[in-house]
């Protein structure tokens, strides 16, 4: 692919890797947070709801800076995690963490909406048929919210692909290590004569975004048909 330089290619591959792991890593936490918000009444529920939505309303730069403070090599969490060999600062893993956190509210919202649409009567029926609570969840609740989970995951993936502010603040813009597609476009635009490379990446961005959207539509329609029982 001659029209894309090596630097652009590495940005694309890195973005895909970062977004994939960000989505996968956020999924269990997103499911748990959505379940807690949809089903449990506990003190601090409002606080949790606010925390989950925080990345949506804070300037991304602020989120990135907070991440740097917490997970930087001298940050309280970063130092502790470095002891066990997990480093986020200025690595691709950090880009994935930033993307996961920025995508988290979207994912939680989608899953929570689908959870609230599940008829609790079906879960009761499952329990009367002998299913203990965790089996009720895996055999009834989970299959029924699958469309919501998929929608949330695809939305999160798309958001992760486009994340810029928090990523560049937290892990900087190191080609081959932390330079994702948006960071690369930004970098190209700073260099005279590199508009062509920037435009090529813009095209890739548009294609990836549209493909994600189409995939989300197809998958959710298919799963919804299966789940609705028709």
């Amino acid at each position: 692919m001659g029209w894309l330089g090596a630097e652009a290619w590495s940005a694309i591959l890195l973005s895909l890797k970062v977004s994939f792991w960000a989505t996968l890593g956020a999924l269990p936490f997103g499911l748990l947070a959505a379940y807690a918000l949809a089903r449990w009444r506990f003190p601090g529920r409002g606080l949790l709801n606010g925390l989950v939505h925080l990345p949506l309303i804070l300037p991304p730069v602020v989120t990135g800076y907070l991440l740097l403070l917490a997970f930087g090599t001298r940050g309280p969490l970063g130092a502790a995690l470095a002891e066990v060999g997990i480093v986020f600062a200025f690595r691709w893993t950090g880009a994935a963490l930033a993307a996961a956190i920025m995508a988290f509210p979207l994912m939680v919202r989608a899953i929570r909406l689908s959870l609230e649409a599940v008829d609790p009567g079906l879960e009761q029926a499952s329990a009367t048929l002998g299913a203990p609570p965790w089996r009720v969840f895996t055999t009834v609740t989970l299959p029924l919210i699958l469309p919501g989970i998929l929608a949330g995951a695809i939305l999160a993936f798309a958001k992760a692909m486009g994340e810029f502010g928090a990523t560049i603040t937290f892990v900087s813009n190191i080609p081959g290590q932390t330079q994702t597609i948006p960071s690369a476009i930004y970098a190209f635009l700073q260099v005279p004569g590199a508009e062509g490379a920037a435009l090529a990446l813009v095209a890739v961005s548009v294609v990836v975004a549209l493909a994600a959207l189409a995939l989300a539509e197809v998958v959710s329609r298919r799963v919804a048909r299966r789940v609705s029982g028709a």
């Binding site: 029926a125 002998g130 203990p132 609570p133 029982g229």
Partner: protein
């Protein structure tokens, strides 16, 4: 196997305070909507935690608030047939039926699955999803699903209420087979006098959260003091045997040595069935009436009279065919000199007996 229930629960200005026994057969919780029937079933199933109560199935305690025992629903082993079916939409009929099997401590053998499928006529539906089933089919699957979880008892909360008359007539026989063939005890909620007459072995009559009568079905339904759904709905039940079908479209039955003529009923001679006779369709006469178009005249003696709040009175009559209830005016009761022990005749028009009241 017998279920004993004692519950007290208050919510939003409504107080429930009941105690009853549900022995083998079908025990119907009978009362108006809002009388607390569904609350009782939910408490028995463990879906609702009452303030006070004890529920035990033979020796097995499911709930005892005094001792701090409350088994979660999945450990009660009670099959619940809900009013709205509640089939799992993401599973096929076959998967719905097999759902409870994997959690049963003693899973039903594969032959049991085949037997239930056969009994409920589910064969052609097995690969379908619930979204493609009619209301009646859904309820049949729901019954099968509850049975195949190998429960100790079946709970059914108005399982026919959401169905039209034709579908009700389709499902009722399956509950009769549950009672007569499977011999699993059933706690059945209903506000329909016809359903109670058809199904109940035992009746627990409820009104405003209290038990107003309980015992063998024919006794409770023939008791003029027990009118949980109002006097208009009252009717005693006779147990009869089909004798013959007449060429003019009538069927002859025999109850306690007395002949009964009914519009054509299904079945062959010898079939045992129950006939519900609505109290307001019964005319009383001191002398044996002559030159009357009504075909059924049953001699008996007055057992009890319950004057109503309005102009009516409910009279129970002991006849060789069984106890009958008649709803007459207080004026007539006085004019005829009706009192316990007085001999009189009950007159029942053949055409007044609805097909839904026979079975």
């Amino acid at each position: 196997m017998s279920l004993s229930v004692a519950l007290a629960h208050r919510f939003g200005g409504f107080a429930l305070d009941v105690a009853f026994e549900a022995p083998a057969g079908i025990t119907v919780l009978f009362g108006r909507s809002g009388s607390g029937k569904s609350t009782i079933v939910d408490a028995v199933a463990g879906l609702l935690r009452p303030e006070l109560g004890r529920v035990a199935l033979d020796g097995r305690v499911l709930l005892d608030t005094a001792a701090g025992i409350a088994l979660p629903p999945h450990r009660r082993r009670l099959g619940y047939v809900f009013q709205d079916g509640r089939l799992f939409p993401h599973l096929t009929v076959r998967q719905n039926l097999g759902y409870g099997r994997r959690f049963a401590p003693r899973p039903a053998p594969a032959a049991e699955m085949a037997r239930v499928v056969e009994m409920l006529g589910l064969g052609p539906l097995l690969e379908r999803r619930p979204g493609r089933l009619s209301g009646g089919e859904k309820q049949r699957v729901a019954i099968g699903r509850a049975l195949l979880a190998s429960p100790d008892m079946i709970l059914a909360d108005e399982p026919l209420a959401a169905l039209d008359e034709a579908r009700k007539a389709e499902i009722l026989p399956y509950f009769e087979r549950l009672r007569d063939e499977v011999a699993i005890p059933v706690l059945y909620v209903s506000h329909s006098a016809a359903e109670v007459a058809r199904l109940a072995t035992t009746v627990v009559a409820l009104s405003d959260g209290r038990v107003v009568g309980q015992g063998p079905a024919l006794e409770v339904l023939g008791d003029p003091m027990v009118t949980p759904t109002g006097v208009r709905d009252v009717g005693a039940v006779l147990e009869a045997r089909l004798v013959a079908h007449h060429p003019d479209g009538l069927s002859e039955l025999e109850a306690g040595g007395l002949p009964l003529l009914l519009p054509r009923v299904a079945g062959a001679a010898g079939r045992r069935l129950r006939v519900r006779i609505a109290a307001q369709d019964v005319i009383l006469s001191r002398a044996r009436p002559e030159g009357l178009s009504a075909l059924n005249i049953l001699p008996g003696t007055v057992d009890a009279i319950r004057p109503g709040d309005g102009p009516g009175a409910l009279v129970s009559l002991r006849t060789p065919a069984g106890t009958l209830l008649a709803r007459v005016t207080r004026r007539s009761a006085q004019a005829l000199g009706l009192a316990p022990g007085v001999a009189c005749h009950a007159v029942v028009k053949t055409v007044a007996i609805a097909p839904g009241d026979v079975g």
